[in-house]
Symmetry: C2
Subunit: 283 residues, 2 copies
């Protein structure tokens, strides 16, 4: 994900200070346009804008406030565009820490898989300090097809992202149940998926995941079940914090928790959901 | 629904023998193109093709095998196109009774509300005896935008319809939970609905129901909660008969059962689902 985003920024003419835990990731980038850094603090040194794309709340926190974290060197007035899928509570916490240090933190989680990032087809949700968002906008234009502003409260975009990933997991559960019902009643899963994906459910989620679920095609792994489980946990936690009973989110959570429990954490989240539904039905 | 379909058949040049429990429904039709009948058996007398569109399994059965039912007069080789949303078990039973009487029964449930019927925009799912389907096809062409054949086993199309209505209810539940989560976290429900409906969930179900759910706009009543509850019951029953655990269908069932329990049976099914989610969250 980060690699494809870096390529687009380089193509747009930016010089990047890049950091990844796996340093060799940078080998694919045009070396004359990058400076490979050994830590987040080195990457943050002297920049006006910093983009982070990481896997979960604790890792984002460590990257910001850890021993070699961003805040060690981040210039005053610089803007940290945080694109990871994390909870709004973490976003609020990190925004306060940036503010205390004289810099800015905005939330910019995205919808789209790595191929969408490569094609600049991401949908980017942003929220946070207004001036910081204005500085971020010209950078984000090189990464996505549309940027949607969810207000000045920094966690807003994270709420939308958490809600959206919950809806994706719930959609996969729904399709897996419907197609398994069809299969057990003698119908062709693929025909049923194609019918719904081309009529009342003709949206990318139903067409793309629908095809994978119908064909029980679980490879290559695009997004790991353990990361989907992390997103489901974020949804349930947010439901608890805001006192919003969400039985469908609880169901999505338990489905992916079961996938992890069965040892499928590194398999695709489609497998985590759909194979779980199939196994429950003895097929 | 039936009225709009009758208008399209009359416009296509058919003369109809019409029957409805509320006889005055026929007043809106071109009187020179219809014969108003006093019972299903009178409407079935002498026809080659008969279309039924009724609310539930028991009523369809009564209409077929009751004292003044279709089979009393239905000619040999005539085709009964059954468009109601009923279970495949009922369809199999009725197909056998027709077969014993020398006539045919095919399943042809539809996706689309009455306005879609008026505009010939229905999606029609058919299944059953091959020759009978061939006779039905030219008639169905005047009613929908697409007819999809789910095989020769008569209940196939009913399985697809039951699965589809389950997916619609589950989608409403999912949206209501997501938008309520957004609302309780300080976001604008309508903005969130518009974002998802124009990006990764850009399908009619999410756009149309999404707008109603976001705005808590529950009137006018398009489809009653008690009929949605009937559809959820069909899904759970079919899950049981075919041994397919469907936790999302159980959740959809309980949501609409609760709506009926709260006295909302005659309200729109969108209200049945979305107001239930809101009330659970104290908003």
């Amino acid at each position: 994900m980060g690699l494809n985003m870096a390529k687009n920024l380089i193509a747009a003419g930016y010089h990047l200070q890049v950091y990844n835990r796996t340093a060799s990731k940078a080998d694919e980038l045009d070396q004359s346009s990058i400076t490979v850094c050994k830590s987040p603090s080195e990457a943050a040194n002297g920049v006006q804008v910093l983009i982070s794309m990481l896997s979960e709340d604790e890792i984002v926190k460590e990257t910001v406030i850890g021993e070699n974290g961003i805040l060690k060197t981040f210039p005053a007035k610089a803007v940290h565009i945080s694109m990871s899928t994390i909870g709004p509570d973490t976003a609020e916490e990190l925004a306060k820490l940036h503010e205390a240090a004289g810099s800015h933190y905005i939330a910019s989680p995205v919808f789209g898989r790595p191929d969408a990032a490569a094609a600049k087809k991401l949908f980017i949700c942003i929220s946070g300090n207004k001036q910081a968002k204005e500085i971020a906008m010209p950078v984000l234009e090189h990464l996505g097809q549309r940027t949607i502003d969810f207000g000045d409260k920094v966690g807003g975009a994270n709420v939308v992202k958490v809600a959206g990933n919950f809806m994706i997991i719930a959609s996969m559960e729904m399709m897996a149940e419907a197609f398994t019902l069809a299969e057990k009643n003698g119908l062709d899963r693929a025909q049923v998926a194609d019918f719904f994906g081309s009529t009342i459910f003709n949206a990318p989620i139903y067409q793309n995941y629908g095809r994978l679920i119908a064909n029980k095609q679980y490879e290559p792994v695009g997004f790991k079940a353990k990361l989907g489980y992390k997103d489901a946990r974020l949804a349930v936690k947010l439901a608890q914090l805001s006192q919003t009973p969400m039985p469908a989110a609880t169901l999505a959570h338990d489905r992916l928790l079961s996938a992890v429990a069965k040892g499928w954490g590194d398999k695709d989240w489609v497998e985590g959901v759909a194979r779980g539904v199939s196994e429950d039905a003895g097929v």
